[in-house]
Subunit: 156 residues, 2 copies
DNA sequence: CTCTAGGGCTAGGGTTCC
DNA sequence: TGGAACCCTAGCCCTAGA
């Protein structure tokens, strides 16, 4: 968290502009490395350069119609939450009636916050691939398989 | 119209407080998504949560007169011209009073320090519970089910 | 493995309305 | 005059893809 938000100075912006002029757009790492600009940009990563350029060029565009009616505004997003399941046109077989009382053990893990798994899809897919043989019968085996596999990651 | 200025109810405030206690400050999207608080906050965006928290904490602070302290923090590298600035921050030549002055709240949350405690198990379990009826439902249906349910989390 | 493109999120400053 | 609710956007992180 050592980042209080480092605002770009005009020197840095100028260096970035010059760097893009010299190397072209998208050559962020080259610009950052170039001894000509590095003195100004040594504290910025190539990603920072990219992000900054994005911001700078956005404003350079044209001012789109700003007919935003001041006195009245349409506001989407009334809800879209609350109920979750069964909202899709999917057939959703039976749904087994009162299914929303699933007895989640829910043991531990109360957080469930921030960065979550990136490659869970792969894991599930792998499990299914490995077990899909018999018509995907025992579904619980998938969980077993995945859980079995969780000896390296500490979460999940 | 739907929202000319939606005042916050005490239920919403309470949910927000609880959400901050659970997830910590700054995890607005998580709080909003959390099924525990979503019923109260479904009509508020994560930005609304942030703004409301700002208002609440400003007034809640106290009636004490002084207290103008800002969350200002050390800012290395102000200049960006010429050559590399001194690499040594020349902070405290003599080590006496420590330098740790992290003013951040970081409200407790004690035990759950472990990041990433996804509840994917619960989701998968729910999917299987809902689909298990018709005998070994094909495994891909489980993924479909979970994906359909992903109206809140963006990853997965 | 390295790097870029793009999406997503937060912090903070502004703006509007009461 | 000031506060509450809302809007805008810079900066940064994360991940997929080349």
């Amino acid at each position: 968290m050592g980042n209080p938000k480092q605002k770009w100075t005009s020197e840095e912006e100028e260096a970035l502009r010059a760097g893009v002029a010299k190397h072209g757009t998208g050559k962020w790492k080259n610009i950052q490395r170039d001894p000509e600009f590095n003195p100004y940009l040594y504290s910025r990563s190539n990603i920072d350069l990219k992000d900054k350029w994005r911001n700078m060029t956005v404003s350079a565009g044209s001012q789109s119609v700003k007919d935003k009616s001041r006195t009245l505004k349409a506001r989407p997003n009334p809800d879209a939450a609350a109920h979750v399941a069964a909202s899709t046109p999917l057939s959703n077989p039976h749904s087994s009636a009162a299914a929303d009382d699933v007895v989640f053990d829910d043991s531990s893990e109360a957080a469930a916050d921030s960065k979550t798994a990136p490659k869970y899809n792969a894991m599930i897919f792998e499990a299914i691939s490995a077990l899909n043989e018999p018509n995907g019968a025992d579904t619980s085996a998938i969980i077993s398989y995945i859980e079995r596999r969780q000896e390296l990651p500490q979460n999940f």
